[in-house]
């Protein structure tokens, strides 16, 4: 049967513009173009696009990206996790408690931290699927519980809420550089030597390039985006994620293990938060009880800018990554452009609202609702 004879005269051919519009990444792509155009025009000379500047906003964007990937897959599976920020603080504190206060080897501290945090993620998920309560409420409870422990544990052990000495404790460890190290340092030294990027002119870093490698944080962010995107779009498990969030009951009727999918997504979100935390404490060399505050909302905003629906069942990891990039570029760009940093929050609120309205409109186009 040829295409023409099978065509239904009642189905209007949709324009390529319209079919491009119903891609979830659309908002993110448009946003990226707008944001870069803006800063290239108004902040080009500010140092934002020098090697150091690029590294600056890349690192910030990568941080957002790591938690956005987890939040994205969880949101597509139909749930939220408001405990991400507390989880970041908690995970960082666990590293410090095990690695510094208790003096465990750093690799053991990192592994036990991952185990504890992923277990909390599983508990979040288990409570949500067992009780049928909205994940909003369940993870709001976890937000407070974890934050409480994050303050209580170091207070009890060390009588302070910031524990330092992590970098020293991680010295020579085999696992810590996977989170706190840098790659391609040789390449950047060479780029410095041939003058592509500038080098320090004096001081004890004399002769070294101003950017001396790609932090592992960025490698983790890109790795998580690629793996997340492939799992979501190219595997059966990805189809189950869409199905669990699209209509859990319909998915159950055809045998999709919806509860297991949701619990795994909560665990993955916790994993992402822990990756963020480990990279952060390795960079700062300390863990603070107030780390990660409001990160859960920043992750959700990045995901929504990336085109995911708050109601689940629709979204894209690439979109969420673009949302995180917009987020990072604007936050740091305003700093470079010397704009009052409080305006960043205004920008966030406005762009969130625009993204949600756009997404709702796109949803109507996909489902043909009127």
């Amino acid at each position: 049967m040829s295409d023409t004879s099978s065509a239904d005269e009642r189905i209007k051919q949709i324009s390529s513009l319209r079919s491009a519009l119903i891609r979830p990444e659309l908002g993110g792509i448009v946003g990226i173009i707008a944001v870069f155009t803006f800063f290239l025009l108004f902040a080009f000379d500010s140092g934002m696009f020098s090697a150091q500047g690029v590294m600056n906003w890349s690192v910030v964007s990568a941080q957002f990206m790591i938690i956005a990937v987890g939040a994205c897959l969880l949101m597509i599976a139909g749930e939220f996790d408001l405990s991400v920020g507390s989880m970041i603080g908690f995970a960082g504190m666990m590293i410090a408690v095990f690695g510094v206060s208790l003096g465990w080897p750093m690799w053991a501290a990192i592994l036990i931290t991952f185990a504890i945090c992923i277990a909390f993620g599983a508990l979040n998920g288990y409570i949500v699927v067992r009780t049928g309560l909205p994940s909003f409420i369940v993870t709001l409870a976890t937000l407070f519980i974890l934050r409480g422990f994050t303050i209580f544990i170091p207070q009890t052990l060390e009588r302070k809420t910031i524990i330092g000495g992590i970098r020293e404790a991680a010295e020579g460890d085999w696992l810590a550089p996977i989170f706190g190290g840098k790659i391609l340092t040789g390449l950047f030294q060479w780029l410095g030597d041939i003058g592509v990027i500038s080098v320090f002119a004096r001081g004890n870093l004399k002769g070294q390039p101003v950017v001396d490698g790609i932090p592992m944080l960025i490698v983790w962010a890109l790795g998580l985006v690629v793996v997340g995107h492939i799992v979501l779009t190219r595997t059966r498990f990805g189809n189950w994620i869409f199905a669990a969030g699209g209509d859990a009951q319909a998915a159950r009727y055809v045998g999709v293990p919806v509860n297991a999918v949701k619990i795994k997504m909560f665990m993955f979100t916790a994993f992402c938060a822990t990756v963020f935390a480990v990279c952060q404490v390795m960079e700062f060399g300390s863990a603070g009880a107030d780390r990660g505050i409001l990160k859960e909302f920043e992750a959700i905003i990045a995901v929504v800018i990336g085109g995911a629906l708050l109601t689940g069942g629709y979204g894209s990891v690439v979109g969420a990554a673009l949302g995180a990039l917009i987020f990072g570029v604007v936050q740091q760009g305003l700093f470079f452009a010397n704009v009052e940093s409080s305006l960043f929050r205004v920008f966030l609120g406005v762009i969130l609202l625009l993204a949600v309205i756009l997404n709702t409109y796109i949803r109507r186009m996909i489902t043909g609702e009127r």
Binding site: M1, R236, A250, R252, T367, G368
Partner: protein, 258 residues
């Protein structure tokens, strides 16, 4: 002909409520068996018992002559009993092809890693949809753009494709327009001719008469018995469903239009 599934003296109690009080029905392959009854007659409870959602309080289920004990819907799906629910069949935001293979995704291994074989899924979906008379713009068209009747048809095609021997349709036509209803009924007819036992739940006698081979009326958790095609008139069925008398008086004022 051997019945493919026999429901023997099924009772289902929910606490002190007796939803089913000893229902016995045999279903045969290649036949469309209509289950009729007014709201609250126990139709839904009955099919949920068949599809493994509920466990019967008393009674026996024989599938191909062997006693079956379904612990959950997965068991009955594996045995070959598929259920298509009225509005919970499909996920509107997902593409037709993703919906069609939901829970049964074809897999292609690349370097040992199992990937969703979109190519095969898309081809199969398009072919199956054409066979059912639905023209898609493409396999990635969202189910939300299909009409209610088309969604039911996709769900039925999906159940048949994955080897259903018994197909339970829960009020597939109750929310549909005339033309869509006709499409779904003709789909039921196609499926029956493939030798599949169709269990068709409805409270519309005309829809039942259009495709039914046997008719069972449930009322207050009991069956009024089963009649084969030709043994019963639409008027008699209608009377049985409504419990007879009350409808007779109503019908006087409505002029036999119900």
């Amino acid at each position: 002909m051997e019945p493919i599934i026999q429901m023997k003296n099924i009772e289902k109690h929910f606490g002190s409520v007796i939803a089913l009080n000893g229902v016995t029905i045999d279903f045969y392959p290649g036949e469309c068996h209509c289950l009729l009854g007014d709201n609250g007659a126990g139709k839904s409870t009955f099919i949920k018992t068949m599809s493994g959602v509920h466990k019967p309080t008393n009674g026996e289920i024989l599938f191909e002559g062997k006693p079956m004990h379904f612990e959950d819907p997965r068991d009955s799906i594996n045995a070959g009993i598929a259920t298509v629910y009225q509005d919970l069949a499909m996920i509107p935001l997902m593409s037709v092809s993703r919906n069609f293979f939901m829970g049964n995704e074809p897999v292609k291994r690349i370097a040992g890693i199992p990937f969703f074989d979109h190519e095969r899924a898309n081809e199969t979906t398009m072919a199956e949809m054409r066979a059912m008379g639905i023209n898609l713009r493409g396999p990635d068209q969202a189910v939300g753009t299909l009409s209610g009747g088309e969604r039911q048809t996709v769900a039925i095609a999906r159940a048949v494709h994955f080897g259903a021997k018994v197909l339970i349709l829960d009020e597939p036509t109750s929310a549909l327009g005339v033309r869509q209803t006709a499409n779904v009924l003709s789909t039921v007819d196609k499926v029956r001719k493939q030798g599949i036992a169709v269990v068709f739940i409805t409270h519309n006698v005309r829809h039942a008469m259009a495709v039914g081979d046997r008719f069972t009326v449930l009322n207050r958790g009991k069956t009024y018995g089963t009649a084969a095609r030709g043994e019963i008139t639409p008027e008699e069925l209608q009377d049985l469903m409504a419990g007879g008398q009350e409808l007779a008086t109503l019908e006087g004022s409505l002029g036999g239009t119900v």
